[in-house]
Amino acid sequence: METMSLKIFYSLTSIALFGIGMYALFAYAHLLRKILAVNIMFTGISLFLVATAQRSSDSNLDPIPLALVITGIVVLVSATAFAIMMVCKLCEKTGMTQLPDEDR
């Protein structure tokens, strides 16, 4: 029973993380904040996947979600790195660290 409640607890936190990430992405104007917000969303999803790995039938974990998490992280890393370098290029070109028409 306690693994089930643990699982739900993890899922709820992951959803909370996802929500916060979404909010931060669209609320803040600064690009780095947006990229970080995206990272938070993806960590939320990884947490959700890890939660599903917690199988009720026996003790060991289901390896598939873990593999997915690893792959997810690698993809996230490459995307974030690329985004950050683009922000640097933008800052170098125009000196602005936020999208031109963002009001805040």
Binding site: M41, F42, I45, F82, A83, M86, T94, L99
Partner: protein, 503 residues
């Protein structure tokens, strides 16, 4: 079943290998490598088409592991058509890019260096994009689709940044962020599906998924993610700046192929995996968004000052046509007509839109800017390009001789057959609005100018003929029933009533 299902694998591996070789050999030899790779891919896909045509859908389990554990690659009529589309548009864009990047006319040294650096990475990234597309069309595993989508988006964003200007970078960032949000939503949906049903394989999911509240949430998230990536109306904000600020060959690739990738995924999931009751209601919501897209895109296109943004907004409008498939195919019986119509529209729009962007590229190459108002003298000097633009315009408007018309005809027939006549009205209104902005450009081809010939920078021949061939292809699709028979293989409407002749 034919003995070797290895053709599918080569379709994916070849572009990757090509990319690697192109990167290692450096920018000078990259174009040649790309041409060679494209030849190989053409032959492989041709063989695959013949195989699918004779023996039906092909299936390949990667790594030898059976379905739920391993990843399966699957090719049926629709996939093959999509592959052919990406080949046709891809090779012709590559030919165009050959001319585009060997620009001898730039005199200044820095300009030359800048230009060469731009072109150096184009070929590698383009091959990666091609690989991502092929992998996407062929994959049958939902997580694998997620990765291919990511590969596709990253390649696309990288191609946009090639242009190097600040607007391009801004557009790229905006595009990357939106697609990351889309990817996040998609992944979350996948995670929920996995949590509920345990398998990632589309076939398996198809049977297991019923209308529980959890699967509903997953479907909503996945659909939202994909709509974001395909730039349907309210989520279209990233497309115009991205497609108009990129280099011309890049923007034709983006408009023609990248958009279609995520649409293809949604098509696959919608008709194979998601249960019918759910898709019925959601279909009509997407239908409304599509209608809004058609009207808003055309209206915005009419108000644009620059030609490239106009063509980009026309993409927003044309995407609307694609999504009309969902409400129309909601009813099981009439699905096939709408399905054929949407696929015809996809293919003919890909050819036409790529041709249009190339023509715009020619104009920019000739006079340096693409403001519609002072495009007077150019059109008389570039007859072949203007003719290509006109033919492509036919497909966009859905005028009779073109593939666009065949698509419109099928969509309208289905909408009237299934009693939802209002979609037919939207389609026709879209056609008329499209005529509005196409002819506002075409009239400059006929305008009388005082100065007989405006001083133009020479436009190489292959840059003029590539769009013409593409727009002729878009026209040809309207005449051959071949795509239809291909589409019948493995379509999701097995018992659909087709329009037999009622005698």
């Amino acid at each position: 079943m034919d003995e070797t299902t290895v053709l599918i694998v080569w379709v994916i591996l070849l572009p990757f290998v090509g990319a690697m070789v192109a990167f290692i050999l450096g920018p000078r030899k990259a174009p040649i490598v790309t041409i060679i790779t494209s030849y190989c891919i053409i032959s492989v896909v041709a063989a695959l088409t013949w195989q699918v045509w004779k023996y039906g859908p092909q299936r390949h389990d990667v790594g030898g592991w059976v379905a739920p554990l391993g990843i399966a690659l699957y090719a049926d009529g629709l996939t093959v058509l999509m592959l052919i589309m990406s080949i046709v548009v891809g090779t012709l864009v590559s030919v165009y890019a050959l001319g585009y990047f060997t620009d001898s006319s730039i005199s200044s040294e820095t300009g030359k260096a800048n230009h060469r650096s731009k072109s150096s990475f184009f070929w590698v990234l383009w091959l990666f994009l091609w690989a991502a597309l092929n992998a996407l069309f062929l994959s049958q595993d939902i997580f694998n689709i997620y990765i291919t989508l990511e590969l596709l988006t990253l390649a696309a964003v990288a191609l946009i940044t090639l242009e190097g200007e600040s607007e391009a970078i801004t557009a790229a960032i905006r595009y990357l962020l939106t697609s990351l949000v889309g990817a996040a939503l998609f992944l979350f949906g996948v995670a929920i599906l996995y949590a509920n049903f345990g398998t990632l394989e589309l076939e398996g999911l198809g049977e297991l998924v019923q209308t529980g509240s959890l699967s509903v949430v997953a479907i909503a998230l996945i659909t939202m993610g994909l709509l974001l990536k395909t730039a349907l109306f309210p989520m279209h904000f990233w497309l115009p700046p991205a497609h108009s600020n990129a280099l011309t060959p890049v923007s034709s690739l983006l408009s023609a192929l990248v958009i279609k990738g995520s649409f293809y995924v949604l098509l696959r999931l919608w008709f194979q995996v998601f249960p019918l009751e759910v898709t019925m209601v959601a279909g009509h919501l997407i239908g409304c968004l599509a209608a809004a897209a058609i009207l808003w895109g055309s209206l915005a296109a009419m108000c644009q000052k620059r030609l490239k943004i106009l063509v980009a907004y026309s993409t927003v409008a044309q995407v609307g046509y694609l999504f009309l498939l969902f409400p129309l195919a909601a009813k099981e019986t009439h699905g096939l007509g709408a399905w054929n119509g949407a696929i015809y529209q996809t293919i003919s729009h890909a050819c036409a839109k790529a041709a249009m962007f190339m023509v715009v590229g020619n104009i920019i190459r000739a006079i340096g800017h693409d403001r519609i108002k002072d495009m007077k003298g150019v059109c008389q000097q570039l007859p072949v390009s203007m003719f290509a633009f006109a033919l492509a315009g036919l497909t966009i408007m859905g005028m009779p001789p073109s593939g666009g018309f065949a698509a419109k005809w099928m969509l309208i027939t289905t909408s009237i057959q299934s009693g939802q006549w209002w979609w037919a009205v939207i389609l026709l209104a879209g056609g008329l609005l499209a005529a509005g902005y196409i002819f506002s450009v075409l009239k400059y081809a006929f305008i009388k100018t005082e100065i007989v010939n405006v001083p133009l920078r020479p436009v190489p021949r292959c840059m003029e003929w590539a769009p013409l061939i593409l727009s002729l292809l878009a026209l040809l699709i309207g005449f051959t029933p071949m795509p239809l028979d291909l589409l019948r293989i493995g379509n999701p409407f097995p018992d659909a009533v087709t329009m037999e002749v009622v005698k």
